[in-house]
Amino acid sequence: MMTIDIPTWVNLAALFGGGLAMGLGAIGAAIGEGYTAAHADMALSQNPESSGDIIKTMLVGQAVAESAAIFALVVAILLLFLNVPNPSLAKAAALVGASLSMGLGAIGSGIGSGMPGGKACMGIAAKPELSGRLTMNMLIGSAVCQTPAILAMIIALMLMFIDFGSDPLKIAALGSAGLAMGLGAIGSGIGSGYPGGEACVGIARQPRMSVGLTTNMLIGSAVCQTPAIFAMVVALILVFMDFSGAPLYPKWAAFLGAGISTGFAAIGSGIGGGMTAGGSCEGIARQPETVGTVTTTMLVGQAVSQTPAIFGLLVSFILMFKTFPESTALSASMALVGAGVSMGFGGIGPGIGNGMVAQSAVRWVARNVEHAGDMVRTMLVAQAVSQSTAIYAMVVSLVLIFVV
């Protein structure tokens, strides 16, 4: 079939991986920077005398926001220049997986970090005397935003440095592990940007709540990391569990499907959870006395928003652990990949939709706290209906796994 020998495959994988990791990481940081620059422009036009503070904040903000891209650079250099001791096809797949994990993971953090930077600049334009506090909040928010990229880097380093032997099934498992972690980190990375940004806006609007806002931002961002953690669980299982008992076909497809399922579904829940956290920071800034109700509503809304990611995780687990009868037929393999695709993409829409509902609910609970009960009820009803398409997707996935 192929006349390329294994060490060459490994070198090709390393080169391709190096470029991919660095390229994707740079794109994320550039998009985030674009957002910050656009808002800094607006801020400068609103308040030209504060230009010194605004540009200082942009400068400092970019240095921290780039951290995820620097991790990607480190991984890329290691991929390109480190010699691989035991070349095998599994190692080649592991290197591609590592680059996907780090590259995709850095995109989300890069984009997300742009939001606190931009909003902080606008806050300084509105209230120049708060520039110290705004800059600090921006830095904390940006730093939290780097967390998914750090998780992705851990998986990437594991994939690069652990020796996996040459079980052919591992090829699919390792590539899929990188895909799962990379995709899962995108949503959480972007999502974490929302509370960071809104907290900066809130501090400018309501300086005495700055401690409360920073706290709420941290709580919301922490919950927002959940989808990335689901993805990491799937990645770790794929990397470390011994699957050598299972037949190659169609298990390779099951692994690919598992990675796609949790990876893509986590994007929606990550962004949705983040939007909710952002809305709660806005609500607290507008009506500081409602902080308790707003935080509770945010947590409820975020929890429901994680449901699509949980469905994705469930399908992934079934795909990884169920024993499938050996079959070299292409249809059996494609059924399993199809199951992963169905649940994976199916989780994106409802995740974001649930987040939108919860974001609006949290904003308006703050403005109208006596009727919080009505709004929470409606929020839950709306989220449940929005969830229905995720349920259809899961039904199709389960049919593909069990019936066909």
């Binding site: 660095m22 740079a26 794109i27 940081a29 550039a30 998009i31 920077e33 674009g34 620059a37 656009a38 800094a40 422009d41 400068l44 230009s51 010194g52 503070d53 540009i55 200082k56 942009m58 400068l59 400092v60 970019q62 240095a63 921290v64 780039e66 951290s67 891209a69 620097i70 650079l73 480190v74 250099i77 290691l78 220049f81 480190l82 110290g132 800059t135 600090m136 830095l139 730093a143």
Partner: protein
């Protein structure tokens, strides 16, 4: 721009002082690769920060897509430069890799340390 120069001078000078102090200390107590790696990383951290400042003004006042492109170009330029210490660390044993990576983040650490120190200073009052 004046604000950029001030910030650059502040953080870069602190970073260099820390680098020489910590790196020199490590070399003196016998951990040569760690010390050299840290100093090497810090030098490039400073260069990177200065270049961010230089490439910042062109980004303001342009359309969204142009801003992203300029940012992308700036990133590739600076990361190409930052690849140098990393490659040196991988190829030569006299520079410890982890120390170099740690050193690349020196300016960022100075920034965050500055925030916390000034925060503690203001709450004391």
């Amino acid at each position: 721009m004046e604000a950029i120069r001030q910030t650059q001078k502040k953080y870069c000078s602190r970073a260099i002082v820390t680098a020489i102090a910590l790196g020199g200390f490590l070399i003196l107590i016998g951990h040569q690769p760690l010390g050299k790696g840290f100093i090497l990383g810090s030098i490039f951290s400073v260069i990177n920060f200065i270049l961010i400042g230089e490439t910042l003004p062109p980004r303001l006042g342009k359309t969204r897509s142009k801003t992203v492109l300029i940012a992308l170009g700036s990133i590739f330029l600076r990361f190409g430069l930052m690849a140098v210490p990393l490659i040196l660390a991988v190829k030569f044993d006299q520079f410890n890799l982890f120390a170099v990576i740690f050193g690349i983040f020196t300016v960022q650490m100075m920034i965050i340390a500055d925030q916390y120190l000034s925060r503690m200073g203001s709450t004391e009052r």
